[in-house]
């Protein structure tokens, strides 16, 4: 593999990897507070893409209940992205209220909560399919305004191309990771969140409103899922209502690789999986996903706590 190709694949890998990373951050936030994987996260990712698409005033196709319905307003992409993701955040809050809190109150087996979140995923994905059909949607050409479609550099016979959307994805992801890391480690808010993660009952006794922080965590996690979904949707297309679930399964590989509940682990895991996928030889590209899951499987066997995770001690 010559140097230009190497560099090109490296850049592609970083871009994909950063999407996996913000996706995985959403899983990790909830896991670190509740010790539970929210399997509905992949569905929230899908929902983000559809919300933004709708807020931009785009029309849906013929196959659903909302055939040919469009909003009267046409918001620019950046505002639609933020508003759409806030809506996803609110959906996340509702999910916490309906599917997680009743089980938490009863101190139910964590596996039941996992199953409940699987049910939520099924509802969201199929509700989307019911409302807007299962065809794919492309974001409008002018989504990114006047920005050029791609930037070329390198020599004429060995060009390196970076699509603008790849840069946007990478920049947004790095910004989100930075802000989140700062907030969790250096603000009073973040410290309270950590306290809730460590021991919810003691935190509550010390005057931290546990429920409030859990709701906020769900909001932030779902918001990030919405952003990731929109960015991926605008980069290729919104494939179908299931596309987030497929990314969601990949996101599981990412967080297990990085270490459940570890924020730097989620970022590292995302980049590793992204780069591994970029460097899978073209002949085997159909097996790209199998590589990611193969890595996951091996990682679970060799080091279940992941690259940067803590070992969980079973409490007796």
């Amino acid at each position: 593999m010559d140097f230009t190709l190497l560099l090109q694949q490296l850049l592609n890998g970083l871009s994909i990897g950063s999407v996996y990373a913000i996706f995985a951050l959403g899983y990790t936030l909830i896991f670190s507070i509740l010790g539970i994987i929210n399997f509905a996260h992949g569905a929230l990712f899908t929902l983000g893409a559809y919300f933004t698409y709708a807020l931009m005033g785009e029309r849906f196709g013929f196959n659903g209940l909302l055939a040919n319905v469009a909003l009267p307003v046409q918001l620019p992409f950046s505002i639609a992205l933020i508003l759409g993701s806030v809506l996803v955040g609110l959906v996340g809050v509702a999910i916490e209220r309906i599917a997680f809190r009743p089980l938490r109150r009863r101190r139910a087996d964590p596996l039941l909560t996992v199953v409940s979140s699987l049910g939520v995923a099924l509802v969201i994905v199929n509700a989307i399919q019911y409302l807007v059909g299962s065809e794919s949607y492309n974001f409008p050409v002018n989504t990114y305004g006047n920005l050029p479609v791609a930037i070329n550099f390198g020599t004429a016979d060995k060009p390196i191309t970076i699509r603008t959307v790849q840069i946007v994805i990478f920049a947004v992801s790095v910004a989100i990771m930075g802000i989140l890391t700062y907030c969790i480690n250096y603000t009073k808010f973040g410290k309270a969140m950590k306290a809730v993660a460590e021991d919810p009952i003691t935190a509550n006794l010390l005057g931290i409103p546990t429920d409030f922080f859990i709701v906020i965590t769900f909001f932030i996690s779902s918001f990030l899922g919405g952003v990731a979904g929109t960015l991926v949707g605008s980069s290729v297309s919104i494939a179908d209502p299931y596309f987030g679930i497929r990314y969601g399964l990949k996101g599981l590989a990412v967080i297990v690789l990085g270490g459940l509940g570890s924020i730097p682990g989620a970022v590292l895991g995302g980049l590793v999986i992204g780069l591994v996928e970029a460097f899978v030889p073209a002949d085997y590209s159909a097996y790209k996903d199998a590589f990611a899951f193969g890595i996951l499987f091996i990682m679970l066997l060799v080091r279940p706590q992941g690259l940067l995770g803590r070992r969980f001690v079973q409490k007796v």
């Binding site: 009863r106 964590p110 049910g119 939520v120 509802v123 599981l252 590989a253 159909a286 066997l301």
Partner: protein, 306 residues
């Protein structure tokens, strides 16, 4: 009656197969392990039968011999069992959520392989799988005995030492270990039994459905089977059997309800197309209100004493 059986033969056999799949998911749950691997073994068993019957045992004209179907089921069971042990020994060292994720990864790897290999027919899959029977209903000759045998075995299993070891591990793995029960051994055993059953059912289903492709063992399918088991009940084998039957029949029932006159149009349409939304809602409500499922051992005991 004859007309009813002819019309609903396909559904009746599907219900029996659904009950069997429910049991295959229930076996690892007996030890408290949430494994989503059953659909993977189901898909594998189906591919084994599909490949053997279309490429190895070529039968020209007439019906496909039943003996060969049984042989395929046996092979599918053995292969699934071996793979179950191979995957189970390392994977079952993992607990709870890690096991669920590992089994999801296993199913996805199988799905990607079957989508891309030549022998599995790629995305199109394998079609024209030969039929051993004239009508779908006759599949009951194989499916029903299989269900009865499985139920008898599970009935016995819940009452002998092995089954009680399963339950002990489900209730408290550490305590069970301290009592001299080897948790890994029994967890792998339960997992492998589930894998064998799923593989055998897959082999039969491939003939029954006539075609087999990568859509047969997906994440979605895992969740639907999981629903049937959880809503049916996770504490006695009767739950998964009933759950599997009810949930296989549910789409048909919803369609029948939708066809009743006088329903508002939107409701009728929702009942017809919103099947998986209803499944999802049932999962959420079921876990909150019936954490042990609808059929619990207490319920059965109370009935008996009346």
């Amino acid at each position: 009656m004859a007309e009813f059986l002819a019309n609903y033969g396909f559904l009746i056999v599907s219900m029996v197969l659904g009950a069997l799949l429910g049991l295959s998911l229930y076996l690892p749950l007996m030890t408290g392990q949430l494994s989503l691997a059953s659909p993977g073994f189901y898909a594998l068993g189906g591919y084994i039968a599909a490949i053997l019957s279309t490429q190895v045992f070529k039968v020209s004209g007439g019906l496909f011999p039943i003996g060969l179907v049984l042989l395929e089921m046996l092979i599918a069971g053995v292969v699934s069992g071996i793979l179950g042990v191979v995957v189970g020994i390392p994977a079952l060292r993992l607990r709870g959520i890690y096991l669920a994720i590992a089994t999801i990864a296993f199913v996805e790897i199988l799905r990607i392989l079957s989508l891309n290999l030549d022998i599995t027919g790629g995305a199109v899959g394998i079609f024209g799988i030969p039929q051993p029977f004239q009508t779908p209903l006759e599949y009951l000759w194989i499916a029903l005995p299989l269900l009865i045998v499985s139920m008898v075995i599970l009935y016995r299993l819940e009452r002998i030492r092995v089954g009680r070891a399963f339950t002990a591990i489900r209730e408290d793995e550490l305590a069970a270990g301290a009592m001299g029960i080897d948790p890994t051994y029994y967890k792998v055993l339960a997992f492998t039994l589930g894998a064998i059953l799923a593989g055998v059912v897959g082999a039969l289903s491939a003939h029954f459905l006539n075609t087999w492709n990568a859509r047969q063992g997906t994440f979605d399918a895992s969740i639907v089977y999981l629903t049937s088991v959880l809503i049916g009940g996770t504490r006695t084998f009767v739950g998964p059997v009933l759950g599997g039957m009810v949930f296989t029949a549910l789409p048909e029932v919803l369609r029948a309800i939708a066809d009743t006159a006088g329903l508002p149009l939107w409701l009728a349409q929702f009942l017809r197309d919103g099947r998986l939304i209803i499944f999802g809602l049932l999962i959420v409500l079921g876990t909150i209100f019936f954490p042990q499922g609808l059929v619990t051992p207490d319920l059965l005991k109370r009935q008996r004493h009346k």
